[in-house]
Symmetry: C2
Subunit: 195 residues, 2 copies
Amino acid sequence: MSRTADRPAQGEALSRAVWEVLAHQGLEKLTVRAVAAAAGCTTGLVMHRFPNRRALLLHARELLHEKTRQRVERLEATAATPKEALRAVLRQGLATDAETATESVVWMGFLAAAVSDDELIAMHRRNNRSWRERVERLVASAAPGWPQARTRSVALALITMAEGAAAFAAADPAGYPAADQERMLDTALEAYGLI
Amino acid sequence: MSRTADRPAQGEALSRAVWEVLAHQGLEKLTVRAVAAAAGCTTGLVMHRFPNRRALLLHARELLHEKTRQRVERLEATAATPKEALRAVLRQGLATDAETATESVVWMGFLAAAVSDDELIAMHRRNNRSWRERVERLVASAAPGWPQARTRSVALALITMAEGAAAFAAADPAGYPAADQERMLDTALEAYGLI
DNA sequence: CCAGTCTCGTAACGAGCGTTACGGTAACAC
DNA sequence: GTGTTACCGTAACGCTCGTTACGAGACTGG
């Protein structure tokens, strides 16, 4: 090691730069040079840390998943009741402030990029299925008496609603204010008897 | 005019080629050459029909919206009751077969491309708001007695759910079979008292 | 039948891309 | 202090991109 040489920290900084470019410039401008500029370094460092551009994107994708997973587990652990846990976990999936809106844009960028990348689409499916299972588990805890079919259908309705709302709000923040999204979530939870 | 020279038909064929590339190769490979290859012509024709690549994308985006709008209006006109109209319109927004799954991938590709294109994002917002208003109108017809706030919240829950389901199913068809999506839709409509 | 116009394939341009090669410099071992 | 190693900025490579220029051929009006 020499100079700075904190490998994991640099990898994370570069991944943050990937998110930033993806959020503010889009997939088409997500170049190694743009990432390097956003990270305040040169392409030399980027290519020194990662064997190629794809590896950089895959790392950034994985890190984004890990970040949201930790946030969700924290929310789940500190919730007072199963119903509150469910609500908190779904709520963080909405795009109700600048940070979560950015995350939603980045998430969609990765999904769009996955169309032509087998490894990215595999990562998406793995992460998405674990997300779905988590919410099914939370719904089952909040409504223990339900038959499995209802638990699964309601959980599916909830995760797709949250994802769609995040996408809409990220693409049109003025049209989908935070209050509307939260009222929508509460309306849905109440309709399903989960509040 | 000479040679073939059916301008609107060629524009539509090229837009179809845009969708095809976007669906099967992704945004990163959506090049003028790839579109020309998918349309079975050369870049010469493409650049003869459209002043530049952006105009081609904008036209393809507009045509996609027009296509789904016509389909929705047909469904709405032929439905027996307001509740059936609502269900049919929401159902077509899911990704329950190869065609609608492809449409969902293309739709997401355009949304991802809109991050760095003011005109694309403006088109998205325009189309999305009219879509939202349509569903609000359908919900109001299906449940005439509701206060406006409930109508708006339920409509929002329904369109975001449909959009999220289409995105999830398009990215992971095996994980989100058509039957699951339809059961989810019926579960939601029933929970809201719209069936 | 001929001049003129439209169509569109071909070929090339400059810009920007991912990636590679190289070298100067900082950090450590002894 | 000196040799060795790892770090990373610089510069260049070959390639593909969007776009432009040009010309051959098909059509049309007179």
